[in-house]
Symmetry: D2
Subunit: 436 residues, 4 copies
């Protein structure tokens, strides 16, 4: 058997990572065809990536046919895996998601708060369309969604599209596992973090190493400050001793937005004044990456890509495809249906949980009730996510306002309107559903 | 049959209200004995109230024996109703609850945020002791708790004391009903508001008048600004049209702390600079009230008391006693066990809900799932309340910190510690459980 | 305001009861128009009833226009209340429901077991059609369903028809309340039975008289055998002392089918040999009733009707209409959506519960978890009911078989098929949905 | 590291199986000490087994110290695994569990119906005592319970003893997996059956082979009758085509008691008349087994043991210990806490589910809602199990009666008492908790 992988948003600067991953895994994951799909605006980029990719394949001596196209439907035919990593409106849209909230004294971030909500509004309709095509053209294919906000997008697809083979992935749990392993100086594959929560709002409740409970050690190490386990694209974290000892939960880097809001806002505002938004920083970084990608002499994934943040996405995606294809029954942390895994959250909600990965999809391992300190906040985030999905589908201004209203980074009945109005206007071209 | 009512915290300036209510209801609620109980520090006040009360009884020609005592145990013997309206630490403690958070740029309020949590910490141990004595000395008596935070206190008593005949009451639902009646120009008894939520975080979902759905009319009136339905002790409210039209829920006055936080904080800071805390304002008001109470010529509840805020407490309490005693099976809004009424909240949580009032207690009317816009926030408040109760009982600093951490008016992992530490120190005398 | 009532199945021998009730309640329930609707086969009967009814109206001097028609659509226009009391296939079909299971050594009963399931299969499609017409022609009307199995039928309508103003009623809870009152020699209106469960599978958990817990007294009286509280159409009951003292739940007369199965089966077989099925007995009774109805001299409901069983249906129906029309907020026991009232049952299940009756429908009073002795059996009955509804809608043989399989009166994987096949064939004309 | 295993009920005729398993697994499961514990009445048997075991160890050249004792406390010290396989009252008691119900026309079976309930009543107090000792003497040890009714016993221990490291095991899921593998002619380790339910009432919902859904194939094979997958000690099964095609669930052999009750009862009565109870048959079988065990020449587990039924217990137990010790994270089907795995069942119920086996215990894989055809029956069995546990702990006759009343194999309010009374008397010596 040979496999066909389609990468929607193939012009992304991250693509060389996943290509590298697929090349390396040839012995167990026999991919013979990869198609990069992008939109008109990404034409040049996707062509560049495709050329680089072909040089990488050649260098590795792999038997993979790599092509690119703007014709999504033709690409999807016969696909076994469809990875989605799109950015509707590009980095320019991200800059608005960051800039507009900041202007009103709110955290501007592309996956949390007002920015994250807007990204969902732009992304969900496009991916609903993709899911429809997948269901029509390659109904047995697994959609592996990286597009942020990954949890929200995955819930929208699972609950509202006809295609039910959808898994959401993120590198945060992977990074937490690897950083914890580094902290304890053990191999990452021996580490089991008991994750509880939602994408970008997931906590680690317990850390086991080869089945031994090492949670207390991890907290001690964190408090000793000798190590900082945050991934590349998140500023160094600084959690208080009291927090660590009282909540007794391993936070993820995005939790700073919620529990260190004031400080983060200050930093972000300062950073904005100095360097513009993160989107603008990334824009520059991307340009230099693509300059690199164009060099004929480059025949492998360049090291510079790792600085881009989002490292290890490749490993997350390729491990997942590998375990599905080979029915590995190993444990990976992905976004999938709750179905009782966390009884405090709605049955059909999407959660980020440790799952046994099988050929017929991820099977979440029962978690039970959320420890009191975080139960309410996780429930609140989930309710907010539902409102975001509702608004993404309905295009109803009231639904959108309600999502803004209850988002913990907004939660001001007047500012909610101001920021929402400005963002809706700024992104008008990408929000057909909100047109009157 | 004749009834004995014991009022714990009888020296409160509100007491003349409830005395007036009991006197007026003599025809249906045959109270023959009332005992006011207070602590040493309230001795003078309770004596003053008792004298005023006896003049009121005389004036009305009622056959009620009214006395006061500092000996709670002797008072409780044979009681049919025990009303609890205490303020551990008095207004001086309240002033700290208000002042300390404000100092750190947080809303300082006696029933919400850091202040409300501290009030619970001081109150719960005292009322647990009262409940224990009630269970021992008058096990058939109903405890009617007015003490704030009324929902949290009631949950603590129902879930952790042996005495299970406990009902929490608040005048907010009563005031919302009456204000809505005024708004629609109909008799309050014809108005049924479908309440959903928790004490001081309850929303009105629907308004019926004699069974007709008038919700839309209420929203229209609110938007026309011709009427403001807030009770006396809450500043005029000002909800945006978008909020009313999108959330489609009637807020209660305390919701401003959560959805208009910045503005309220500004106002409170300004008010503080000008007049000190609300506690200090109330202190002055109380002094002048007690001067009035002392006048021999005063033989009825003085009108000035209504300005004190908390109006109608008397009606709420006396209606409740009346309906219990007479098994009236009418509908009142009280704080009682959830037990499925709102399936999104824990089974044993206390909620504020419309209940059929019977001789064997309040029976909540099933509400069903919380409308999406508020589900998460109500769940979060309830989880926070559980943490408050846990800390009140355990005296564990970590539990207290966790409650602070997730409270939407705090939610800063570093400030939570700073404010908690300062409050614990300020209230040290009233927090024996937190002593190391 | 004047009201129009439409009675679907107006040719029923019970109709004089409801007519009497509507005539008597004129002062508070201003019904000015009643239309009796029936099908071709019931033409003569409905005409007879209409004539009797008009004599009753004349006798009472009431201003009610009473007519009959076979044209359901024209009747429904402008209706305020639509009562449904149909018998698809008539008593002949009932005889099959009773005879066929008996033949195979199973209890044959028209509302329980195989017979009850078949009655649901015949009834639900017809009432779905009625509900559709109601929604189209008189969307504000309340449908009040008496047709058995009343709980199942009501759940089918509430969850599968567009018309949501549907209430199911049964005289069992009414009779239990009245019999208990008689037992305790108190007025029925002072008795509150805490009902838990489903139509024809409802238990009384507690009995209060004017709010006093009298449960123990009721059990004592039941054990003393001085009184038997069963309604007219159910054979005398005979519950063991051990059952009463251990389960501590008041059974309803239909529970004998489940907990005294062998004995009941024996009796039923004997009765069948002697007198044929209950349907055939009723058939004879009905004929003599209609002979009576035809007598011009009869100008009121004849006493003989009470022996027919199903007494007090009239009071149940008329009380309900009265409380809805007048927004009485009194408590009646009806079949309505669970919505958390019993957390152990599905949210959208229909249960039989004490409800506050308002103009906008019945509001169930929260019950909480089912006491252990009956939790599982009630859950099993509800799951069985869901399967019955599924099969009624789908016409899928497999769904029908599954309902038979898990019904506690069948529960034999081989006999389930034999009895189902025979019943499907016998009722072929009334089961269009099961045609291949 | 070397491990100590204690076998409570070591005199069981099954013990050679588990000894064989432990000897074979030496390379991965380094057991160095095994202690067989039994009671006075089993002294001779346990000594015989110990001698046989030592010959087996010698033959295998394994370095295991095997001893026996009647002093449970001394044995438990330092244990790593405690396996419990006791039979309180021995086969004589089992004979009563089988004979008495049969006498009253009920199925008499040692793990289901009245017999199973009585076995729980006798067993739970003894194992509660063992759990208490384990918690005191070897708190880190895992208790692995084989004693039937295994699910009920495990729930009693998990919810009522202080020791929480308890896992219940049964060979039914193992046998179903192996038989299905044989049916499909694939290796058992490639088969994943999606199990749903409770011990001895577990269904297979889906069958995957290496992740491919082969459920339909299995049903086809079952219908073709070419294979019968029942284990040795259960009579050949005979499910109707309609059952298989409608319920679409793989039954386990014990389901015949519930869905083929009449036929099974007939067979059992006939068998009883011919050969006495199953207990008596087993008694004879055991005697001949022990004669065999005593032969000095026997140096391995004799083949005859396999006919005894309960085959593969050894593999189930040893696999579990192996996976725990080595933190294998493989998937095994055991009895453990529900905790949301099946949202239709109580949170703290014990279910039989596929679990990831880790050093810190079994982690069940979320199952989600039970398919409609079996939801109610499984809920009913679980409620019945709760009543059994309640009665086992309380010794209250009423609790015991309630368990009998709702058991689907009894469910007659009068017979329940008759059979219960007779069984309580017969087992008096082993039911100290029921003494007045």
């Amino acid at each position: 058997m040979s496999l066909k992988v389609v990468i929607i948003g193939g012009g992304s600067s991250y693509t060389p990572e996943i290509l590298e991953g697929l090349i390396e895994r040839q012995p167990t994951l026999p991919v013979s065809e990869i198609v990069l799909v992008d939109v008109e605006a990404g034409k040049e980029k996707v062509a560049t990536i495709c050329q680089l990719g072909n040089r990488m394949i050649e260098e590795a001596g792999a038997a993979i046919e790599l092509t690119w196209t703007l014709d999504r439907r033709s690409a999807l035919k016969g696909a076994d895996f469809v990875s989605t990593q799109i950015r509707v409106g590009g980095l320019a849209a991200r800059a608005q998601d960051e800039r507009i909230p900041l202007k009103h004294g709110m955290i501007g971030q592309e996956t949390n708060g007002a920015g994250g909500i807007m990204k969902a509004f732009r992304t969900i309709p496009v991916l609903m369309e993709v899911a429809k095509e997948v269901q029509e053209l390659c109904p047995d294919a697994w959609m592996i969604n990286f597009t942020n906000p990954a949890g929200i997008v995955t819930e929208a697809l699972l609950n509202h599209s006809a295609h039910k083979k959808v898994i959401g992935v993120c590198n945060i749990p992977f990074n937490m596992r690897h950083s914890t392993a580094e902290l304890l100086q053990v191999p990452p594959e021996d580490v089991w973090i008991q994750f509880i929560g939602l994408n970008h709002f997931v906590f680690g409740d317990k850390v086991y190493v080869s089945g031994e409970d090492r949670t207390e050690d991890v907290f001690q190490k964190l408090l000793s400050k000798e190590f900082d386990y945050s991934p590349a694209n998140i500023m160094p974290l600084d959690w208080s001793e009291t927090f660590i000892q009282s909540a007794r939960l391993l936070p993820n880097p995005y939790h700073q937005y919620y529990f260190q809001s004031e400080k983060v806002l200050e930093k972000d505002l300062k950073a904005y004044e100095e360097n513009g938004t993160r989107a603008e920083v990334v824009q520059a970084l991307e340009e230099s990456l693509f300059d690199l990608y164009k060099q004929e002499s480059l025949r492998e994934k360049p090291k510079e890509l790792e600085q881009r943040g989002g490292a290890f996405y490749s490993q997350v995606a390729c491990s997942l495809m590998d375990s599905i294809y080979n029915n590995k029954e190993d444990i990976q942390t992905v976004n999938t249906w709750n179905h009782g895994t966390i009884p405090d959250l709605p049955y059909d909600a999407v959660i980020e949980a440790n799952c046994v990965i099988t050929k017929n999809g991820p099977k979440p391992i029962a978690i039970g009730e959320i420890p009191a300190p975080m139960r309410g906040m996780i429930q609140n985030m989930k309710a907010m996510e539902e409102l975001v999905i509702k608004a993404s589908m309905s295009g109803d201004y009231k639904d959108a306002y309600n999502a803004f209203l209850v988002n913990p980074l907004i939660q001001d009945e007047k500012k909610a309107k101001v920021v929402l109005d400005e963002l809706l206007e700024a992104h008008e071209d990408y929000l057909p559903q909100f047109k009157r």
